[in-house]
């Protein structure tokens, strides 16, 4: 009931400002001219980088793009990167109380590691070199408060970015020293004894250098009593997992810019207790946890040379480590302890380097040429038992891949632009692959864009799929895997309506071939990864967004999507046919106090055992205030306001078919800048 009231309220609010405006502001707004140069330089206009590797206007991008700004992150009270992604048209996230997973365009098989999404931070590839996974929950390797904005570029991006740019490329742009100009301290407290603290400093100096340093720490006890009916037996604590949902992370970030050079370093550590007893582990055993650590140091050089030539060169070192303890039932008769610890461990190190030229010609014509090289000196996977004679597994690899790519933007006729690109990738493991993308962009009017896009993308088999085995007890390595391939066709219509509204309608069709899936080899009964599955999907998306000077902003979207496994004819697991999202920010006191309202609908989804989970609505509310006293931001949020009980489909490694998610939770946060 309250929700409707809020909407009426803003109508009311707008009517009041209307009366005011009528009295004091005849004609178009004139206040812009009253702003100082510094204030003007802080004003945003809409552009996007990730779709073409250079900044361009949204309507000129060869994709359908969504952008989330730091302002929205504050006003909607997002606590993790996954929560941000969940608000985006057509995106859906799931969580198994260990990791968060992203579902795009109906595709997000339970148990997959986000390897069909490419995650970039300031243009630097973040997917690790073991699972090629994009970490998106609180394991996301960057402190969320350091995000300036997020660009989500839908559709295949392999023609520019290579492997993993299968369904979407997500480019996260970090805040810069000039965005802080001083010290920022932030503290927050939330349900389940969750606390976070952050200290950041950023500045830019007259003679050019700019810097930002930040450290943060998060600690949560999690839901201290979780009930799983599958384990409802006196021998397994009546299905109650106690104190096992804890989570901690720490992040250190630093960036320095001098003239054309930017050096960025980041370190992230996350530990998560796992309460679900997945992988046949002992139920309610406090030893079950996973840890993810990621570090990188990235040096970037960007310069604009005469004759409209932009050069970008970068080189970076990356480190990823994952380990976990999996408590199993030991065999005391064989000399094993009662709780046998299985340790799973992977470590990856890689360097990548990129050189890219963007040359602009007359009118809108542009050409990109680029080269990319990745060298992986270490890709280590280990699995072993403590105090047991059982066989372990150890695999150590190194590999490399390189690529050459080009993209051109050609104005073929007035209002008609062809944006076409091609990338050749070469992998040590399977050889070469060529992936093109072509987009025709027709803008008959300033406010209108029609885009037709074809793209092909690939995902290289990762070392886990290629080499993991357990001594050939139950699983053998999938040595001769080929890349997965997706062909996507899209039609996009973007329309600005007046100055405040933006409407998008898209239709897509894609087909995936050679999808890698775990299979049983009938000749020896062993599990093995093979290029077997074919998937087809089609869908439509509608979105309408708007913004007003009174501070009201919002967007509403609906996605319809249908997926099909071509072998079985079934809809894919964890694929919702309908998604709807509503986001509205209402100003309660102009420029000072805002109410952020979020409403998300997910329709029923099939789980891996063929049952359907129920559809659900989730409502989140955030009150956000800024500058009540100068430099102070306060927010209070309630998530899942109606305490809706809902579940996400679990992967085969769980005894549970579905994992229940959190009910109503809350958080308060204060940030002070000085």
């Amino acid at each position: 009931m309250g929700l409707i009231f809020f909407l009426l309220f803003c109508n009311l609010f707008l009517s009041i400002t209307k009366a005011d405006a009528g009295d004091t502001l005849p004609g178009p707004p004139s206040d812009l001219t009253k702003l100082s140069l510094e204030e003007l330089m802080e004003m945003r206009v809409e552009t996007v980088y990730g779709a073409s590797k250079y900044e361009q206007k949204l309507t000129e991008a060869p994709s359908s793009v969504s952008i989330v700004t730091s302002d929205e992150i504050k006003k909607y009270g997002y606590r993790s990167f996954a929560e941000v992604l969940r608000s985006i048209r057509g995106f859906q996230t799931t969580n198994d109380r260990n990791y968060s997973y992203l579902n795009v365009r109906g595709f997000g098989l339970p148990g997959d590691y986000n390897s069909r999404i490419l995650l970039l931070i300031d243009g630097h590839r973040i997917n690790d070199n073991i699972y090629n996974a994009a970490a998106l929950g609180r394991e996301f390797p960057l402190e969320i408060d350091l995000i300036d904005r997020i660009e989500v570029v839908r559709g295949p991006g392999s023609s520019l970015y290579g492997s993993n740019a299968f369904f979407a490329v997500i480019n996260v742009i970090t805040r810069r020293g000039r965005d802080l100009k001083g010290v920022e301290v932030s503290g927050e407290a939330g349900s389940f004894s969750s606390y976070k603290g952050r200290l950041s400093y950023g500045n830019t100096f007259d003679n050019g250098p700019e810097m930002l340093f930040s450290g943060s720490y998060y600690d949560s006890k999690g839901n201290r009593r979780l009930f799983y009916s599958e384990f409802d037996d006196p021998s397994t604590n009546n299905g109650i997992a106690e104190d096992l949902d804890y989570e901690r992370y720490g992040n250190l970030f630093g960036e320095m810019t001098f003239q054309d050079f930017t050096l960025q370093g980041n370190y992230n550590y996350r530990k998560k207790g796992v309460p679900t007893a997945s992988y046949e582990t002992l139920f309610n055993n406090s030893r079950f946890f996973t840890v993810d650590e990621q570090f990188w140091a990235d040096l970037k050089y960007a310069h604009t040379y005469p004759e409209h030539l932009n050069v970008l060169a970068r080189v970076n070192y990356n480190y990823y480590k994952y380990y976990g303890d999996y408590p199993l039932e030991g065999d005391p008769a064989a000399g094993e302890p009662e709780v046998l610890i299985n340790k799973d461990y992977t470590r990856g190190e890689w360097f990548d380097s990129e050189l890219q030229f963007v040359k602009s010609f007359a009118d809108r014509n542009k050409v990109i040429l680029g080269a990319y090289l990745q060298y992986d000196p270490k890709q280590v996977q280990r699995n072993f038992y403590i105090n047991s004679g059982r066989d372990g597994f150890r695999d150590k690899r190194n590999s490399h891949n390189w690529a050459l790519y080009t993209q051109g933007e050609i104005e073929m006729a007035h209002n008609l632009v062809l944006n076409a690109g091609l990338r050749y990738d070469h992998y040590k493991t399977f050889g070469g692959t060529i992936n093109p993308r072509a987009a025709l962009i027709y803008s008959p009017f300033d406010m209108t864009a029609f885009k037709l896009v074809y793209g092909r993308a690939f995902r290289a088999p990762n070392v886990y799929e290629l080499y993991y085995h357990d001594g050939s007890n139950t699983q053998k390595p999938g040595l001769d895997l080929e890349p997965e391939v997706i062909n996507t066709y899209e039609a996009i219509y973007e329309q600005y309506l007046g100055e405040n509204y933006r409407a998008t309608v898209t239709g897509f069709f894609y087909r995936i071939d050679d999808l890698i899936a775990l299979q049983t080899d009938s000749s020896d009964g062993l599990l093995v990864f093979r290029n077997v599955d074919e998937v087809e999907a089609k869908g439509m998306e509608f979105e309408l967004g708007g913004e007003w000077k009174c501070g009201t902003e919002g967007r509403v979207s609906y996605t319809f999507q249908e997926t099909e496994n071509r072998q079985t004819g079934d809809v894919l697991p964890n694929s919702a046919k309908h998604l709807a999202k509503l986001n509205v920010v209402l100003p309660l006191i102009k420029d000072k106090l805002f109410l952020g309202l979020e409403e998300q609908y997910t329709s029923r989804r099939r789980n891996v055992s063929g049952d359907f989970t129920g559809g659900f609505f989730i409502t989140n509310l955030t009150f956000f205030s800024r500058d009540l006293t100068e430099g102070l931001e306060l927010s209070a949020s309630v998530y899942n306001v109606f305490d809706k009980k809902y579940v996400d489909p679990a992967s085969e490694t769980h005894r549970q078919g579905n994992i229940e998610q959190d009910g109503a939770t809350g958080r308060v946060k204060a940030t002070y800048k000085f």
Binding site: I4, K18, G22, P29, L37, E46, D206, F617
Partner: protein, 191 residues
Amino acid sequence: MKKIILFILFFISPFYIIFAPDNARSEELKPGEYQVKAAFLYNFLKFIEWPEGPVKTADAVTLCILGEDPFGRDIDIIRGKAVRDRVLSVRNIGSVQEAGECRILFISPSERKNIAHILEKARGSGVVTIGDTEGFAQQGVIINFFLENDRVRFEINIEAAKKADLQISSKLLKLARIVENTGPTITGTGR
């Protein structure tokens, strides 16, 4: 009941967004790129000193827009505004020959191919050339807009400003990215 409310919420919200009060349309939170650029142009006037003569039009400072006009109605927010007791007038011109009385010459991206010719004609007349196209500053346009992180920024070619005998205040220079001519004879300025 809850479901009904949620349904209504989803159902009416698109209409709500569409039919929100009319005045809100002109008051969007994010101003148009060219509204912001217009406001920049107005601000520039405060930080640039022209030489005495040869331009002597009393009571008016003329801003000329050469080529395809990207501003449209957005320029109206500065049209007729007073700058240092003089009124800013805005004119659209089709060729650089008509630029005689212009104190500020905004060169549209559509003139990219003619840029060398335009600069040649505008040279020495005490006119501030302003561009909106990547690379213009390197070719001798005095102030050139560009976008960075969604924000409007500008670069200044100091050599070109000196040649035009213009005094640009240090405040403006501080906020600008300083660029150099592409010519081989010019060596480092700034940074």
